[in-house]
Amino acid sequence: MKFVIYIIVTVLFAGQFTVSAKNKERLEHLIVAGMNIGATSPGNIPPEVRKVTAWYPYSSFQLGYNIVYNMNDRWAAGSGITMDNKGMGVINEVKHLYTEVRLEADGNYLIGYFSGKNKTDVKMAYITIPFFLRYRLGKQWRLLSGMYASYAHSTSFSGSVWDGYLRTPDPTGLEISIVNREDATFDFGNDMRNFDFGLSIGGEYRINSRFKVSGIFSRGLTSVLKRDLKFVPFNMYNMYMMFGIAYLL
């Protein structure tokens, strides 16, 4: 958290403290707004997932401030601070997925291997600090690449399983059929990491002297789930495409 505060302070006051009056002309201040559309998913779909039946984005807006320093005609470096919401839902069919489910209303938990249908909703609200280099390709186009650090102030990772069966506590144990969608749920919201760090790449198109549109793909390199969480037996990474507009102040 200290790290984040340090970065925020650095970024916000960078202009005032370190940039001379002459260099100020080289600075751009931008308001950026956009939508994150993508998935929080394993880097590779694990073999336990047999079929992805549905995917839907959650309203995942991004709103922030960027400051960009033009080093020369071609190159620029930027940073900023952004309210960055990421989220999605997925319905899939799994086979022998090791998990823990809560039997609704009585609060008891069952651990075992589930085969059947699964719905997972992931929502995260981050404060994100991006760092990027920008390269001018022509009159209109710019290429962006860099990295980001995010702090999550709110997370949820929940869902339900149905239309299948659970072998508990292991594959040689009892077979419990779970039929209805309301019967068994899971919630690993408290087992998510606060931090995400990753890489980004994308481009922007200058519409006029004030407005630009951009598309930036970001890929988390840290799993959103804590490492000691046994009940999702694979790492999950943020992979989101941000479609946005930027307004030059």
Partner: protein
């Protein structure tokens, strides 16, 4: 140049969508069905999680038999299906899952017994992991104990159906005690009725009354059931709860002790189409052929003998139907519908269904 950037962005978009892998190797290691080439009518589909398969026959000398076994997809079994074994002794089978990580050991035995007598003397422990519950050593009987164990995640001191040393004869009798329930699997279960029955139990979350599957095959050579006898004691508990968890003042619980013979389609036993009666229709189904029932199982402090003739609704005809016989012992008569009194206890010993040859 701009084209390249659009293409790059599209490639990035699609790179987020991984590919579905080949199916993982199966982790299950179950015997799905176990039968014998020499005896096509002896075939079972063992309940998942159980590790013992016991066949019962009246014919002595059925030792060397050739098993016909199906196992979980991709799993292997040792010794192999089709290799004759002497099943008068316990034969140990090991099923190994396709991914080779899970093993399930089964013991299989053919017992020469009179299957229609039960002394309730021999009990053992069954289940997996922390969920261990008592079962009768005679596997033609089942109880709802695995359901109670699962609902309470194994934290059970005394299961509703259990042995007691207070026997009429021999070492043990069956003790059935209605217990206080709660909310389980999103279903209000005010009481856990205790029952012990000839048949199978597997949890059906959508309809608990259908978790019980009453009936064991009753082949022609076993004869025509005529008399249902045994010894019982009963003590009604209190308070009496209805299915909505309301206490019903003044209502006195009764137990249930009965045997039912019912018909099924021919050749379905041990197959996917197998037919059973369940908690919703055990006394009302039009498949019922004969019933022997204690009319009022009320407070009876000392062991009392009962001997009830089967009352037939229609004649047995093995040309048209197969038949199944069940014996149901329950501490609360309306337990299938979650109506009963906490602490109602039924103790039963030396049960017999007397049959005469056709």
């Amino acid at each position: 140049m701009s084209k390249y950037i659009v293409v790059l962005l599209l490639v990035l978009m699609f790179s987020m969508i991984g590919c579905i892998k080949d199916a993982p190797k199966n982790i299950e290691a179950d015997i799905l069905s176990f039968g014998f080439k020499e005896k096509p009518d002896m075939c079972v589909m063992p309940d998942k999680g159980l590790s013992k398969i016991v066949f019962e026959t009246k014919e002595p000398g059925t030792g060397m038999l050739t098993p016909d076994i199906t196992v979980s997809e991709g799993a292997t079994i040792d010794p192999k299906s089709g290799v004759p074994q002497d099943f008068n002794n316990t034969v140990l089978y090991t099923v190994t899952s396709e991914n080779r990580l899970w093993m399930h050991e089964y013991t299989v035995q053919v017992k020469v017994v009179n299957p229609l007598v039960c002394s309730f003397d021999e009990w053992e422990s069954a289940g997996a992991g922390t969920i261990q519950y008592p079962v009768l050593n005679d596997y033609s009987w089942s109880s709802a104990n695995p359901g109670v164990g699962t609902a309470r995640a194994g934290k059970v001191t005394d299961y509703p159906a259990r042995p007691t040393a207070d026997a009429y004869r021999g070492t043990h009798a069956a003790l059935l005690e209605t217990q206080r329930g709660g909310r389980y699997f999103n279903v209000l279960v005010p009481i856990f009725p205790a029952s012990l029955f000839r048949g199978k139990f597997s949890i059906d979350l959508s309809n608990f009354a259908k978790s019980v599957k009453f009936g064991q095959p009753h082949s022609m050579d076993l004869g025509r059931p005529v008399l249902f006898s045994g010894y019982f004691k009963y003590k009604a508990g209190s308070p009496f709860y209805d299915e909505n968890d309301n206490i019903v003042p003044g209502r006195v619980d009764e137990g249930a002790v009965y045997s039912v013979l019912f018909k099924t389609a021919k050749g379905v036993a041990g197959t996917e189409k197998d037919e059973f009666l369940d908690g919703t229709n055990i006394l009302t189904s039009d498949k019922i052929v004969a019933i022997a029932k204690i009319e009022h199982c009320t407070d009876t402090p000392e062991y009392t003998h009962f001997e009830i003739p089967f009352v037939y609704k229609e004649e047995i005809n093995y040309d048209l139907f197969d038949y199944k016989l069940t014996v149901v012992l329950a501490s609360s008569r309306e337990g299938d519908f979650y109506r009963g009194a906490v602490g109602s206890t039924l103790t039963v010993d030396e049960v017999e269904v007397v049959c005469v040859d056709f």
